[in-house]
Subunit: 352 residues, 2 copies
Amino acid sequence: MTPSSGSQSDRLILAAVDIGGTKVTASLSDRNGILGKVLQPTVKTGENTALPGQVDSMIDAVCGRAAVAREDIAALGISTCSPFERRDGQLVLVSPNICGGLAPNGRRLPNDWTEIPLEAELAPRYRRVAIDNDCITAATAERLFGAGKGEDNLLYVTWSTGIGAGAYVDGHLLLGKNRNALHLGHTYMNRDDTGQPLCGCGNFSHLEAYAAGPAIARQYAAAGGATATTAEVFELCRRGEAEARRIVEQAARIFARGLANAVALLDSRLIILGGSVANDWDVVDPLVREEFYRAFPPLTQEVEIRPSALERYLGDIAALSLVMPRGWIADWQKTQPWRDAPEAVRMEGKAL
Amino acid sequence: MTPSSGSQSDRLILAAVDIGGTKVTASLSDRNGILGKVLQPTVKTGENTALPGQVDSMIDAVCGRAAVAREDIAALGISTCSPFERRDGQLVLVSPNICGGLAPNGRRLPNDWTEIPLEAELAPRYRRVAIDNDCITAATAERLFGAGKGEDNLLYVTWSTGIGAGAYVDGHLLLGKNRNALHLGHTYMNRDDTGQPLCGCGNFSHLEAYAAGPAIARQYAAAGGATATTAEVFELCRRGEAEARRIVEQAARIFARGLANAVALLDSRLIILGGSVANDWDVVDPLVREEFYRAFPPLTQEVEIRPSALERYLGDIAALSLVMPRGWIADWQKTQPWRDAPEAVRMEGKAL
């Protein structure tokens, strides 16, 4: 054994994986920063163990690129879209965005999975595996390193392809019986369903079905506008196009009601907004504020709303925060090593 | 000093006060049980210190009846309708059900209070004062002594003149920045307000405005039915009267959506329902269940719904649980002394 390989094994290496409905990222870090990162479209074909297999092969790939031995990985943090159920105490993924067997009629995925045995497949292959919902981990990342430093009553909300959240109340991170807390996108925003939009989960009238990115694009097309991406609808709104403006205003108003509902239950002091729709901050900020602060003043008037401070790095740091040792935190707060992290390398994969 | 008065002062005596929008109760307990209880309509005239004054005079009265010296009270637990704000760190009551200056147009109260200095007035007069929202304290009482013993993910909901809740998540009682967590009645249940009912807080479309007891009676009258109390509407529903049935079904459906929204945020395992409307359990139970379990199964299918096990004693035990020493809890769980508590004595009061 050479001295250099000896010093290599002494380093604490952590792996962080972020599983979304469209892409998966995997990164490796040591105490000084992020060593490497790979990215791949989320696998949705084959057996229901294909996604854990993808995670594993992506970690192999990033190990190769970063010249890290797989055995040197001390812990793996997985931040994922959800929800979860438990089988024999272990978390399985039951996300209708990935499991074709759970998607409602009319939304086709190329598999018939009803659950993905994420923990059972991956736990035996690593020294330690920690799994949580990607918005719950984002709340921790923002509280440790981002816009919510030291805040004990914090609500983080992703406004993107889906809508989800994570929260600290009285300094306690809310998890719940199956770690499914803060599924804000799946709250009803209407008393009945007549004429209301269908959510990816199969219910009508959910916040996500009104206000998530794809809902905004869909409403614009349905209103007789040309087919446009969500970003294009926002651009049209900026340029003063009346229909785009009406649709963005409506989505922002319903989204703000969702925020007010969460605050009525959690008595948060700070809301942090992340995700691709919240990136159009210039447009949504005044709209969201106007509606939010109209709600019962004793519950809303002391609440502050801020954009995420980690947006580009949020997914990586969120997954990493699940397994990061206490000793690293003060270092990372000071040096912010994610700011000069290597760009993600896009992996091809024939099974995708 | 006689031996008997000496032994009297050695006893640990606790006072418990429950402040509602219509009545206040005050009780005294020692380790063996409840010593006495008085009840009076909530004072709503005079200065904004009138309510703390009422609490104080009721404690004097129950001390007199129970032959307890006021100085022997070790702690006072106050369970109250809310919300709260803080002034110089102390809780003030800003409840639109009591403060006339906060009630929306069209709801007249005989005062112009905008806040009640509950903690500032009472804290100096007792050795220890603890104050919390009445549904938050009820969650603790049900978890210690009632239908939720030992449950770490518990949602307690009052369905009564108002709708409110209290919750444990991962064994942690949710309080929030101003102890205003779980104001479930003030969550929006509609995407817009056109034609929707006005809530006591001044907003439209809140759960409380659709489904609380008075809303049920009001909807029945508005639908052309005779003027009837909420209890009478439930009785008509039981007898098969179509309009009463339609209105109760609608209220139960919207209430169940409110429960599903709370569970989507808290991932509770157990919901406990208390309050006067939930007392019509035979009618509401199947209606609430049908709608609740239609919501996104991974979030709702493992949730159990049970009625309160403490209903008649809940207010007293809830307030008491704020200050009850650990040593008493196992005793009270075993002996359930509230079951033979003395009846409340109704006090008259010219100022009310």
